[in-house]
Symmetry: C2
Subunit: 131 residues, 2 copies
């Protein structure tokens, strides 16, 4: 045998696909879009309104990537005007829980982050003035 130890899939191993999985949601929009779809299936336009600041391009691009990886499904009703609905897949649903927890953490703790940042920057300025 070439390798002895068990593969032990780990996100800390850069050659492991688990790392890719994490990088899939490491961008600026995937977490938000998945969280939005966790509330309810939505159309392109509705997502645009729900996720503040996302451009049409990034929304489409991110949705494609999530669909490609099986986290969401795309229902094209093939009518005119177009009606396309996105929703979490079963696999995506298993992710949503952890993601929503992150959202809640952010919404609950951002004041502490802001305060810490301010303290840090103030300390920086002090030491820069007296080098």
């Amino acid at each position: 045998m070439a390798k002895r130890s068990k593969p032990e899939p780990s996100v800390f191993d850069e050659t492991c696909s688990a790392r890719h999985a994490l990088e899939l949601i490491a961008g600026k929009w995937p977490m938000l879009i998945l969280s939005a779809l966790a509330e309810s299936p939505m159309r392109h336009g509705a997502l645009m309104r729900r996720v503040g600041g996302v451009s049409q391009k990034m929304l489409t691009q991110t949705l494609r990537d999530l669909e490609r990886n099986g986290l969401i499904t795309r229902q094209d009703h093939q009518c005119v005007p177009p009606h396309v609905e996105y929703e979490l897949s079963a696999l995506g649903g298993t992710l949503a829980g952890a993601l929503i927890e992150l959202d809640r953490w952010a919404e609950h703790n951002f004041p502490q982050l802001d305060a810490a940042r301010e303290r840090f920057d103030a300390a920086q300025r002090r030491s820069k003035r007296r080098p």
Copy 2:
């Protein structure tokens, strides 16, 4: 009063600091570094070894940013050779739980992601050959 409705901090609001909080950990390295420190406090070198593929530059840079936002603390023992230890702050500790859940999700589900990606790409190729 200018505004009527409650502020309702939400990650979906691009003007809310909660969004910044989320973007703090949206990069390629913050989640991994925080997860590593959740296992145990570590020195710069140990982190380099633990987090596969991280460069010295990105490690230092990310550690600074996490320290700035109060998620980790930096203990410089002021000796030579240098000995600097990083560890999760109380605030960082509250994040670690959600992060580790994400890691576990990635390590558990990446095969399904890989499979979905392969299916999607195969379907793409089929429709490209017959447009």
